[in-house]
Symmetry: C2
Subunit: 158 residues, 2 copies
Amino acid sequence: MFKANYIPVLFSLLMATGNFAYADAAENDKTAITQTLKQYEDALNHSNTEKIVSLYTQDGIQMSPDQPAFIGTDALRSAYEHTFKQIKLNLAFTTEELELLNEHTAMLRSRSDGAIAVVNPETPAKAAAFKELFIFKKQTNGEWKISRYSFNFQPTKN
Amino acid sequence: MFKANYIPVLFSLLMATGNFAYADAAENDKTAITQTLKQYEDALNHSNTEKIVSLYTQDGIQMSPDQPAFIGTDALRSAYEHTFKQIKLNLAFTTEELELLNEHTAMLRSRSDGAIAVVNPETPAKAAAFKELFIFKKQTNGEWKISRYSFNFQPTKN
């Protein structure tokens, strides 16, 4: 049996273990969110509307320049289909900050740099850069999806 | 003295009171956030840079179209000063959704409708509309300030 004066030490150890477990969970969540962003980047660069739509929550909202907010799967599908008929994107996203706000919500701010080419009539790609603010939501199956997403252009790096 | 079979009832009453207290706190927070947005609207329409800067957290970030992210008080002050030398805004914000994410963080999505006039050379105001995604942070003094803010144009209502 433990003596009474070990109890505070044991309690501290248990609390520390709890904190490590929490930190691990947070790191796992951050890794999963970064993977979703990478999947979004890939799908965007391959004009893959269905993949993109699957990365949003069902009530997901995209806020893009000069457009109304696109709310929900059907509106998102239509918006991305329309975009990919007009332009081909080649962007690399860089996460500037990622903050877990509660166990199923995170904020991510990023920039993306690359090029845009008009598809029809086909034109050479031009350098382009954007900056993004995302809200991600963890789904009941553990996946992190895009819940809210606002972006706009910014000056290119060069 | 209470009989033992009242205890579950009392417990339920205590829990319900706790829930009401939590709901009240949430309502108070939402009211305070809406007031900050109203103050921002007023300051924007009066080209009041110092008031605007005071509504941001010290590490606040504004993400506006075609500009780099403006990070922190000095960059924000400079950005709004520059904007107000160029344009006069007259906008009314409408909150589309407001979600408390933890006890000191909230997301707010809005639209704003009104007009923009170029200041120099002076030109008639033209109808304009924007959509906004905000992260608000509660300060230690209880004030809610703008922490992250991304916006872009959208079609006007008419």
